[in-house]
């Protein structure tokens, strides 16, 4: 920018290329995740764990889409919340250069049952996450604003360390055959990744992002801390249950998690009810669907811990948790922040965020994402391979539509910049 106020390196506004490289990679990995699931659809319903295409699809979704977006979004949004600039823009770029190829190699190795290929991919991913953890910790340590978001950030960071450590242990087991309680480590890794790192970041960022989108006052800090506290207790109980605590402890963990989710959702719904802008927009359909999936995943976890274990309940749980809650929530947020950030970087006479946001691909993605989610749940419940294939195909088409939305925003931004210069 060349106006009266010169930009400086201390600014909290990152160059557009930094967050957008993460969002672009997430959109690409989203396509690959559904493609891998389509290719491995016959194994989805009865997936017993272990390597293969469903495993690759799961990690393309969790690392490729969720972690990739979380890193990009927090690099831009946390400095705004904490009133602290990112420690090093170069480091923020290096994280991407480690993470994106690392995920591709890791997932590719998993898809072809090759732990020796997975290991270097995992090493790149862990290096990327370690560098990101340093950036995150540095920012949180110096934070001056939004203590609620900062508290969630610290909790998510602790979960990130735990999920990386358990992930490395699991990889080492595949490669070297270490004797360990595989089920306990796998469950710990899943809980720390989903309810821990991603879930706590989602809870924390929701405190200011959702009210900002709706033009509403944020929920009370008391409710936010109560939800965070309950979520942390739930995660700790779950980890205790995995390492010998038993099913009663696991049920207590799920019920406590459900209480955390209820406090979080009720507080945000109250905030949204008092919004100043009447129209919420279609993104909030996705937000509410994601909350329903979060609650359903925890209710199912509680039921399973109490002995109600219909066939393939574990797979239903994973579908509710990953594409149901986390992916649905993430795409709701991403479809709002991508055009918003693009308009911020558009320069003089900036186009409206709505003018930068192609609506048709978003509507297509919404319908296909819901169809894929419902189809996947039905496929697992009914153990129907054809339905799993159809659901994965719908998910793939939806992912392509979301990719079209992302490309459309960039194209419109380019046109707007060219028009401003003309």
């Amino acid at each position: 920018m060349t106006g009266p106020f010169a930009a400086t390196a201390r600014s909290r506004l990152l160059p557009m290329s930094v967050p957008f490289r993460y969002f672009g990679a997430a959109a690409a990995f989203h396509v690959l995740a559904w493609a891998a699931l389509l290719a491995g659809a016959r194994d989805v319903a009865g997936f017993p764990g272990g390597l293969g295409l469903p495993f690759a699809a799961l990690h393309l979704a969790t690392l490729g889409v969720l972690a990739m977006t979380a890193v990009g979004a927090t690099l831009q949004l946390l400095p705004v919340a904490t009133r602290q600039p990112v420690g090093s823009i170069t480091a923020a770029k290096v994280v991407w250069w480690l993470l994106a190829p690392g995920i591709a190699v890791f997932a590719g190795g998993a898809a072809v049952y090759a732990p020796r290929v997975m290991a270097p991919g995992a090493a790149l991913v862990v290096a990327a996450l370690a560098l990101y953890a340093w950036l995150l910790a540095r920012n949180l340590h110096r934070a001056r604003g939004m203590p609620v978001v900062v508290a969630h950030g610290w909790a998510a960071l602790a979960a990130l360390v735990g999920l990386a450590a358990t992930g490395l242990v699991l990889i080492a087991r595949y490669e070297h055959g270490f004797a360990l309680d595989h089920a306990a480590f796998r469950a710990t890794h899943l809980v720390l990744a989903t309810y821990g790192f991603m879930g706590l970041l989602a809870f924390g960022l929701s405190q200011f992002l959702l009210p900002m989108f709706a033009v509403a006052r944020p929920p009370s800090p008391r409710a936010a801390y109560a939800a965070l506290g309950a979520a942390l207790i739930a995660i700790a109980l779950a980890l205790g249950a995995f390492f010998g605590g038993g099913d009663a402890l696991l049920a207590a963990a799920a019920v406590t998690g459900l209480a955390a989710a209820a406090i979080h959702i009720v507080a945000l719904e109250r905030s949204l009810r008092a919004r100043l802008r009447p129209a919420l927009g279609a993104a909030f359909l996705l937000v509410r669907a994601s909350w329903a999936c979060l609650a359903a995943s925890l209710a199912l976890a509680a039921a399973m811990a109490l002995g109600w274990t219909p066939p393939r309940a574990g797979a239903v749980f994973v579908v509710l948790l990953v594409p149901g809650w986390l992916l649905t929530f993430l795409f709701a947020v991403l479809q709002r922040i991508v055009p918003f950030l693009a308009s911020v970087h558009a320069g003089a006479g900036a186009p409206l965020a709505s003018a930068l946001s192609p609506q048709r691909p978003l509507a297509t993605h919404r319908v296909l994402h819901f169809a894929a989610l419902a189809g996947l749940l039905a496929a697992v419940v009914l153990d129907a391979q054809w339905l799993a294939q159809a659901a994965a195909a719908a998910g793939l088409a939806g992912a392509l539509a979301f990719g079209g939305f992302f490309a459309g925003v960039l194209l419109r931004l380019r046109q707007a910049r060219a028009a401003a210069l003309a």
Binding site: M1, G3, P4, F5, A6, A7, T8, A9, R10, S11, R12, L13, V80, R83, P85, R144, G145, M146, F208, M212, V215, P218, L276, R277, P278, A279, F340, S343, V344, G347, A348, G349, A350, L352, A353, S354
Partner: protein
């Protein structure tokens, strides 16, 4: 978010008032679509005039205060690009506001200029919302750090 500085609180209250008013207009314009208000409809023309008056008085004063008193402090604190971004948005909003205010005058034939007025109204509503969101996220929290009590009291006294 709770603000401790008088200036931040004052600007925040004005943001809320602006959003409430323009939220009502946005909703009314969306409901009406391409049909201009009927001759006997006094509500929508009244709302349009309230929005035009708000732009002419409060928003102008609010923008000028930010540009002369606050953005230079933000820039001096190393956030020149955010100050620059907010300044550019002020210019864009002012430009749209001028035309909107002309069209919303009582003497105007609303039916004749309705398509342009409606588009401008919706554009301004979105621009004001986006602008307020950015100021609430970046400017007001920064003021909490940038202003000490003395500077805050002095600026609040000057902002009448």
């Amino acid at each position: 978010m709770e603000f401790n500085r008088q200036v931040s609180r004052r600007l925040h209250q004005e943001h809320e008032a602006t959003l409430a008013l323009w939220g009502r207009l946005e909703q009314a314009l969306a409901r009406r679509g391409n049909r201009p208000p009927e001759a006997q409809d006094a509500v929508l023309p009244g709302l349009l005039r309230s929005c035009a008056a708000s732009l002419a008085e409060e928003v102008t004063r609010h923008f000028a205060f930010e540009e002369t008193e606050l953005f230079p402090r933000l820039a001096a604190a190393g956030e020149g690009d955010i100050a620059e971004l907010l300044m550019q948005e002020h210019a864009t909003i002012r430009s749209a506001a001028r035309r909107f205010s002309e069209l919303a005058q009582p003497a105007q034939d609303l039916a004749g200029c309705w398509p342009e007025l409606r588009v401008l109204g919706l554009e301004l509503a979105e621009r004001l919302v986006g602008h307020v969101q950015k100021e609430e996220m970046s400017l007001l929290p920064a003021l909490e750090d940038l202003l000490d009590e003395e500077a805050d009291a002095e600026l609040a006294g000057r902002y009448t």
